[in-house]
């Protein structure tokens, strides 16, 4: 769904050649636009504040103002921004909001609107690289391929769309307390400074790797024949599913994954034993090369 979203920038212009907006209108228009998912930039006379950074991509910009003369034509020197100007002098707050929606429609700029049906809630892990030791526990744990590695084999969040909304489980797997979910309610997962007792608590992890159908993580580390044969036995789909159910119950009891998230998990959509094996092989390759 994120492919349907296109940046669209609104500018409230109160600088040279335009009048200041009515106080109440300025606040209500800005707040409403933000709550609908728009980005809003306010420009005043005080443009010492303005320093421009190069724009990497093209997107439409709508400049709203109570212009002293006709709304000026504005062009972007880089040729990347498609700028539209509109005079708002005769419009009330509702009229301005309608105007913004109309221009956005004309520009075909899809918006991710908070609270709307089908909106994508941004829920995904953020790695604190000051703490991360690149141990790959998160990669091996996540069933939904949220994590991957870059060319330098450094862990990174690659598929944040795949992350299960409100599930902070991987942050509890990280031995370094390096994984944050900024929208989580409590610390240190929400980004609060990490305390010593947080680190101590995280070292008492449940055996979550068994969720992948066996202790794959350590079996890959040792690459013992015994572990390999145990893994191959678990390739029976029924057995793997039962095993996963058992582990999910354990996780639920441990409080690591919220009950409502577990309730939403469709076990049949969890990775098949083949996918688990593919992931395990990828891990083995990574660990062998590092």
């Amino acid at each position: 769904m994120k492919n349907d979203i296109h940046p669209f920038q609104v500018v409230l212009y109160e600088g040279k050649g335009a009048s200041a907006w009515d106080k109440a209108e300025r606040l209500s228009v800005t707040a409403t636009l933000l709550d609908k998912g728009y980005s809003v930039k306010r420009i005043t006379e005080n443009v010492a504040n303005e320093s421009t950074s190069p724009v990497s991509d093209a997107y439409p910009v709508l400049i709203l103002g109570e212009f002293n003369e006709a709304a000026p034509d504005v062009f972007d020197g880089s040729g990347k921004l498609e700028i539209t100007t509109r005079d708002t002098a005769d419009l009330d707050s509702d009229g301005i909001l309608e105007l913004v929606a109309t221009v956005r429609g004309e520009k075909d700029a899809g918006l991710n609107q908070p609270g709307e049906k089908g909106a994508w809630k941004p829920w995904f892990p953020v790695i604190d690289y000051d703490r991360c030791t690149n141990c790959m526990q998160c990669l091996s744990f996540c069933l939904f391929d949220v994590y991957g590695v870059d060319d330098e084999k450094e862990i990174q969040v690659q598929n944040n769309d795949n992350c299960k909304t409100n599930c902070p489980a991987c942050s509890r797997v990280c031995p370094e307390v390096a994984i944050m979910f900024p929208k989580y309610t409590s610390g240190p997962i929400n980004g609060e400074p990490v305390k010593e007792e947080d680190v101590a608590r995280e070292s008492m992890k449940v055996d979550i790797t068994s969720l992948l159908g066996g202790d794959i993580y350590s079996s890959l580390k040792t690459r013992s024949e015994k572990a390999k044969s145990r893994f191959s036995k678990e390739r029976s789909p029924d057995k793997a599913l039962t095993e996963r159910k058992k582990c999910l119950t354990k996780l639920q009891q441990s409080g690591i994954i919220p009950a409502e998230v577990l309730a939403e998990l469709d076990l049949s959509t969890l990775p098949s034993p083949d996918e688990i094996q593919r992931k395990a092989e990828e891990m083995a390759k990574l660990m062998g090369e590092s």
Partner: protein, 112 residues
Amino acid sequence: MSDTPSKILYCRCAFAKVVPDGVKTEVLDGLCESGKSFESVADLCEMAARKDPRIQTLLDESGTTRIAACYPRAVKWLFHQAEAPFPSDDQVEVINMREEKAPDILEKLLKS
């Protein structure tokens, strides 16, 4: 960091209720009243996840930026993940609307 920020950024956190409503409204009100230019975004997390190209323009590469959002550690690494890392920690001040009171946040954002 220098006392005169070249940029002020406000995050509305529109997809979650983690920043108290009263605080974010009072801060936005104060910014609107201030007569200063500022940038505001619906939800930095959402923009970072999409790697929205505008995120590259939110920080001042050569000057300073003050950001009203949430925990500094989260915001710093969110920008990093969106391939728009802080130019240096000294150049960016993150003010936490989850923990601080609106008058204190405004004072930090607007001081010159």
